[in-house]
């Protein structure tokens, strides 16, 4: 490898680290992303042009076509996608990365330049194939689940045992292929197929609420696949870039689990839906709910001095993020102190709600994180909960039998009045009853979030 290319890879690696670091602050994040992107571009062009191989022109042309083709498609998808669809998009792109790693492994296994007797190399290739295949099929299943193509949670009986036996089988078989030095393409395609099947088995039984955790985990795996491929080529930018994504992805996964009070083990092996299923029928003891109208809510808000808005995914589904911003501006103009309380897992991924609200021009300074806003609910005259459910369920505090017991929540029940906008009394993602709705301070404003908020804004304008 030429010195120039090594230097380019070194620069690219540094841009990845600096870029990730800068992504950690809202002010520098955009720059961080651009820096990492520039480093990536540098690494890609360096790889294409700086080498001492005799490469026929046709191959350059093909590489050029592939890059332009992939670049244009990727760009169009990225520009067109709605912000509410972000989680499934990340999942889809991630799947492509995994597929790319698996394909590289497939080609290199058949490559005669590589001595099949070198156990390290065979092990590396097989890891790239298996990990790449798992991320590819797993990400596609996650994508299908998030965009609603795959609706139901498919639970094969004893899927834990089956899945674990399956992955152990893959590892053992890979070990056998490495140890025996068998240079058989049959084994190769067998492992590829097994990886694909495991990806499906792994993601299929996982509930929708846990999907962000799974995507983050798969993202981390793609990084590891890239790093493994880097070992194969003794390529530092792939190795370090891949490991960075791998370890960052694991930390992010753990952070997400923490925000939902779940352990990684319970996400992968757990049965959220199953244990919640037995909890039904207890709502008799919860009392009755109180309905309210948009005009009553408008009056209450008009005379409040502190209002806290708790947005949930229902807000995003109804595309009501622009209306809620209008409501907030209107109230602020009337001298009401308005804030948004953002639960770490509001939306479908951590930080997803922030993106959605930022899209509708909500001032970043008005978004308060859970730990900062929780003490302020005591002083709130009105809390407006829009399309959120489990993140405001007091059962997390006081019902040890609840599946969400111990999950950090927004303490909205401390406010003087709570108005909850929901489409119906349907339970939230966790599938459990919410006693907040039966609280004597709570009134329910039923209806589609966008319609209800538009009506509310209309009432306020007339005051």
């Amino acid at each position: 490898m030429s010195i120039l290319l090594s230097v380019i890879y070194l620069i690219a690696t540094v841009t990845f680290i600096v870029g990730l670091k800068k992504l950690g602050h809202p002010d520098s994040a955009k720059n961080g992303n651009l820096i990492a992107a520039a480093g990536m571009g540098l690494a890609i062009f360096g790889t294409i042009f700086i080498h001492d191989l005799q490469v026929p022109t046709i191959i350059y042309v093909l590489i050029g076509i592939a890059i332009v083709l992939g670049g244009i498609i990727g760009w169009i998808i990225a520009i067109k996608v709605e912000m509410t669809k972000m989680p499934e998009l990340v999942s889809l792109f991630n799947g492509f990365g995994g597929a790319s790693a698996a394909l590289i492994g497939v080609v290199e296994f058949g490559n005669n330049n590589i001595p099949a007797t070198d156990a390290t190399i065979v092990a590396t290739i097989l890891s790239a194939i298996v990990i790449g295949a798992i991320t590819f099929s797993g990400s596609l299943i996650a994508w299908g689940k998030l965009n609603g193509t795959l609706k139901s949670v498919v639970k094969i009986p004893q899927y834990n045992i089956i899945n674990n036996l399956f992955i152990i089988g893959i590892v053992v078989f890979s070990g056998y292929v490495v140890a025996s030095g068998a240079d058989s393409s049959l084994f190769l395609y067998g492992l590829l197929a097994a990886g694909l099947v495991y990806g499906i088995l792994f993601v299929l039984p996982i509930g929708g609420a846990d999907m962000p955790v799974v995507i983050s985990l798969l993202n981390s795996l793609t990084g590891i696949a890239a790093a493994v491929t880097g070992i194969l080529y003794d390529n530092m930018v792939m190795l370090v870039g891949g490991i960075l994504v791998g370890s960052a992805g694991i930390i992010l996964t753990v952070a997400m689990c923490k925000a939902m009070n779940r352990t990684l083990g319970s996400v992968i092996f757990g049965s959220f839906g199953a244990s919640a299923g037995g909890e039904e029928g207890v709502n008799k003891t919860l009392g009755t709910i109180k309905k309210t109208t948009s005009s009553d809510t408008a009056i209450m808000m008009n005379y409040a001095s502190n209002v806290i808005i708790v947005p949930g995914y229902g807000l995003a589904v109804a595309q009501a993020q622009h209306v809620i911003h209008e409501l907030e501006e209107l109230l602020t103009a009337k001298g009401v102190n308005v804030k948004y309380a953002i639960h770490p897992v509001a939306g479908r991924m951590p930080g997803h709600m922030n993106v959605l609200l930022a899209e509708s021009n909500v001032d970043y300074a008005l978004l308060a994180e859970m730990d900062d806003i929780n003490p302020q609910f005591n002083n709130a005259d009105v809390v407006l909960v829009v399309g959120a459910n489990d993140v405001v369920n007091p059962a997390a505090h006081n019902d040890p039998s609840s599946p969400i017991y111990g999950m950090p929540i927004l303490d909205v029940e401390n406010a003087k009045h709570i108005v909850v906008n929901k489409r119906s009394m349907k339970a939230g993602y966790a599938g459990i009853e919410n006693e907040l709705f039966y609280n004597s301070k709570t009134s329910m404003l039923f209806g589609d979030a966008k319609d209800a908020l538009t009506e509310l804004v209309g009432e306020l304008k007339n005051m």
Binding site: F16, A29, A36, N94, G97, L103, V107, V245, P350, G351
Partner: protein
């Protein structure tokens, strides 16, 4: 066990890099606030597209007559670029919205 020790001593440099890069990844991410987790996930996802470097190497090393290797390499490059360009572009779009409003 012996094989593992031999592997590590044969690949000492890579082993060092693996361990150090793991810690860098953890430390860099640890301080990131929850609000930025979505763009971070998307940005890290774009970075994992670095696998495209390998896909390009596959194509550069292929014999022009080896249609299978070239074809698979071609698909790998397309998918890798999709991951990289799409990932960075969508992260940029998200972060554009975080810009401070005047």
């Amino acid at each position: 066990m012996n094989e593992l020790i031999t592997f590590i001593s044969n690949n000492l440099q890579i082993t060092y890099i693996l361990i150090l890069a793991t810690f860098v990844g953890i430390e860099v991410i640890k301080s990131i606030p929850a609000v930025l987790h979505t763009p971070l996930m998307s940005g890290a996802n774009a970075l994992s597209g670095v696998v495209i470097v390998g896909a390009i190497l596959v194509m550069l090393h292929s014999d022009p007559q080896d249609y299978l290797a070239l074809g698979l390499g071609f698909v790998a490059v397309v998918l890798g670029v999709l991951n990289v360009v799409g990932g960075f572009a969508v992260t940029d779009r998200m972060l554009e919205m975080f810009k401070k409003k005047k």
